[in-house]
Symmetry: C2
Subunit: 150 residues, 2 copies
């Protein structure tokens, strides 16, 4: 088979599905490592993804969390439920609009966040340790420009 090859799902695959399959595996590799690094803090990746937003932006409405995480309302609901139950975040009413709830990280949440963050540095570096110097940055650059077209 020459020219247009069929998909194989293995390294060297040149088919239109190769990129997607690769991204799937690459993400699984990272997610596995990061999930493990966070388990001891009682946090899951989806919870952490929300905490990241809360730390970066401060109190945030659930609507904005949906947009920031590119997930859906129901998912955010459940994650915020979990965070509230663990005492890592609180829902606060917003004066002026009784529909809106702002989510704010708590002291305990921030503490867990910083601890998990610290524990993640090592594993994150190991993930790219087999690449040559400069390549991790190049990968990040290409991925960023791929993911966010102008």
């Amino acid at each position: 088979m020459s020219g247009k090859s069929r998909a194989t799902g293995r390294p060297g695959d040149d088919s239109p599905f190769a990129l997607g399959l690769l991204l799937r595996r690459a993400h699984a590799r990272v997610a596995g490592t990061m999930t493990a690094a966070m388990r001891s803090h009682g946090l899951d990746l989806r919870h952490f993804a929300v905490l990241i937003i809360l730390v970066d932006r401060g109190p945030t409405t659930q609507r904005d969390l949906v947009e920031a995480t590119r997930s859906d309302k129901a998912g955010i609901m459940r994650v915020v439920d979990d965070l509230e139950e663990k005492g890592f975040a609180v829902r606060k009413a917003v004066p002026g609009d009784r529909r809106v709830r702002e989510v704010e990280i708590t002291e305990a949440g921030l503490k867990a966040f910083d601890a998990a963050h610290e524990d993640a540095v090592g594993p994150a570096q190991e993930l790219v340790a087999h690449l040559r110097p400069g390549e991790p940055a190049k990968l990040m650059d290409l991925l960023t420009r791929f993911t966010y077209p102008e």
Copy 2:
């Protein structure tokens, strides 16, 4: 905030979680496009992923499908159930070991596979159309070496 910055989840994020978040979005972008490109053939990504293996390797035991797709036994079971119901694959007994079932793609399955494959070429190219010449290949190369360390 200098030196070790906190995660933001936005482009330019330099935290240990940046790569994972990026990969998540990148994969979502590709998966969305590819899923859409395949919907008309009555195929879902997980079904197609199995078909890819079947086409690449020929008849394959369910056990090997689990390993090849890095998914769960039960998941493979259900996907093969679906493929069988659609007439795209069949389970065949293996002489010599009555535990094992080999899954084989059918004529109809191969036809659907090739058609979906063809329809995917255009969308796949559009996904990387905004990158500079050579960059898609570079991205594939980096991703491959990242995902499959020696």
